[in-house]
């Protein structure tokens, strides 16, 4: 609580709080009385008031030329990505769910329940239909479709299912099995125009450095 007079030093310490309405009524009254009698402190008060008013004017704040246009562009690109995602998500989620279920069933069918693969390289063949008949040559680790031209030792061939081949640790021939895999994928209802998510991701990354 302030009673009576305040000196110049105290007034100048509180002048900013006075202008912000941050002093109690007693101090405000004492400062008002001081300003009435002291030209120097009144000069400081009015000058400070000018500073607050002039710098508080919106004209004092300027952004660089083209700032708004560049911002709008970045926001539009960001919003565009968001919109496309929200549209896609309405059908992409169910499609993905179906694909996930179908894939799970195929994987489940392609493996002997609870029996681990002998080779982790056999993971590559998980999408091959498990009952597909394949051949393996003696002393190799690769299984092939019948008639594959890349079978090295055609003298001692064994025919078995893909499931059994993978269980024994054989890995699919990249040449002949790729063709079978692609054929199998085409028959599993992938959308004709799958969204090019990678392309959009690249576009967004490219814009990040603007």
């Amino acid at each position: 609580m302030v009673t009576g007079q305040v000196n110049c030093e105290r007034v100048r310490q509180e002048i900013s709080n006075y202008l912000d309405g941050e002093v109690d009524s007693a101090l405000r009254g004492a400062m008002d009385a001081h300003f009435h009698a002291c030209n120097r402190c009144t000069s400081v008060l009015e000058g400070t008031r000018n500073v607050i008013r002039l710098y508080g004017d919106e004209r004092m704040i300027e952004a660089p030329a083209g700032f708004g246009r560049r911002l709008e562009k970045r926001l539009a690109r960001s919003a565009h990505g968001g919109n496309r995602w929200s549209v896609w998500s309405t059908w992409l989620v169910p499609v993905a769910a179906v694909a996930l279920i179908a894939g799970s069933l195929r994987v489940a069918n392609s493996l002997t329940t609870g029996e681990p693969l002998k080779s982790e390289h056999a993971q590559a063949g998980q999408n091959i239909p498990p009952d597909m008949m394949v051949v393996v040559a003696a002393d190799t680790k690769v299984f092939h479709a019948a008639g594959c031209t890349f079978i090295h030792n055609k003298e001692k061939l064994t025919t078995l299912t893909a499931k059994e081949a993978m269980r024994q640790g054989y890995v699919p021939c990249l040449r002949c099995m790729r063709k079978d895999l692609e054929t199998a994928e085409a028959g599993h209802g992938a959308p004709a125009e799958w969204p090019d998510l990678d392309a959009d991701a690249d576009e967004d990354r490219g814009s990040g450095g603007q």
Binding site: G47, A63, R70, S78
Partner: protein, 219 residues
């Protein structure tokens, strides 16, 4: 849709329109976000510039802050002021970038030393009100901007957030991560230094072509 000019010139209408825009963007009308933030472009840039000083860094930080605001718009709550929320995101972004430059430690030492001493005004001319028309002149705005840029960082930041961005004392303290008492101390010093610089500016003719009565000084 309301006339944009009428909305901008009427704070009440602006607030209502702003609330509508916020709600629409939160519901997924992403393309409306730019309309929402456009009135604050300059303020966001100024806040970033006060902290980073470099115009290129400030623009990048300001735009990044806008993108973060866009990404987090659903977290905005109606009880807060949108402008304050936006400025706080900008300040955080700018402070984070400045920390990367590792300048804080050295400035922190200066801060303790300088806040221990009082600032005594030097100019005691009889100031009168400087008309706002002065700001129509680019050279006046430039001089004021130069005076502001000459302030020590800690005073400039508080001054810009409080007196230019119109945050209150508490919001300024929270945005900068300092105490309310520090905000008040720095604000007093910033205002008094700028007052001295402007008073000296009168002597140097910054405001010489202003329409004051013949034979009288404006101070």
């Amino acid at each position: 849709m309301a006339d944009p000019e009428m909305v901008l010139n009427n704070p009440g209408a602006r607030t209502t329109r702003e609330q509508d825009l916020i709600a629409e963007v939160q519901r997924g009308q992403n393309e409306l976000f730019y309309e929402l933030v456009r009135p604050y472009e300059r303020r966001v840039y100024a806040a970033a510039l006060a902290i980073l000083r470099n115009p290129t860094d400030a623009e990048d930080a300001a735009q990044e802050a806008m993108l973060k605001a866009f990404a987090n718009i659903r977290q905005f709550r109606a009880e807060a002021r949108f402008s304050t929320w936006l400025i706080q995101i900008t300040v955080n972004e700018a402070l984070m970038r400045r920390r990367r430059e590792r300048t804080v430690v050295m400035e922190g030492i200066d801060e303790r030393r300088e806040e221990e001493s009082e600032y005594a005004p030097r100019e005691f001319a009889d100031w009168r009100e400087i008309p706002s028309e002065a700001l129509e002149r680019k050279e006046v705005r430039l001089k004021l901007a130069e005076a502001l840029a000459s302030l020590d960082r800690k005073y400039r930041e508080v001054f810009v957030l409080r007196d230019m961005e119109q945050l209150n004392i508490q919001e300024t303290a929270e945005a900068l991560g300092i105490s309310v008492a520090s905000v008040k101390t720095r604000l007093l010093r910033a205002r008094l230094i700028l007052r001295d610089l402007l008073a000296g500016g009168w002597e140097r003719g910054w405001f010489s072509r202003l329409p004051f009565e013949k034979g009288t000084k404006p101070w």
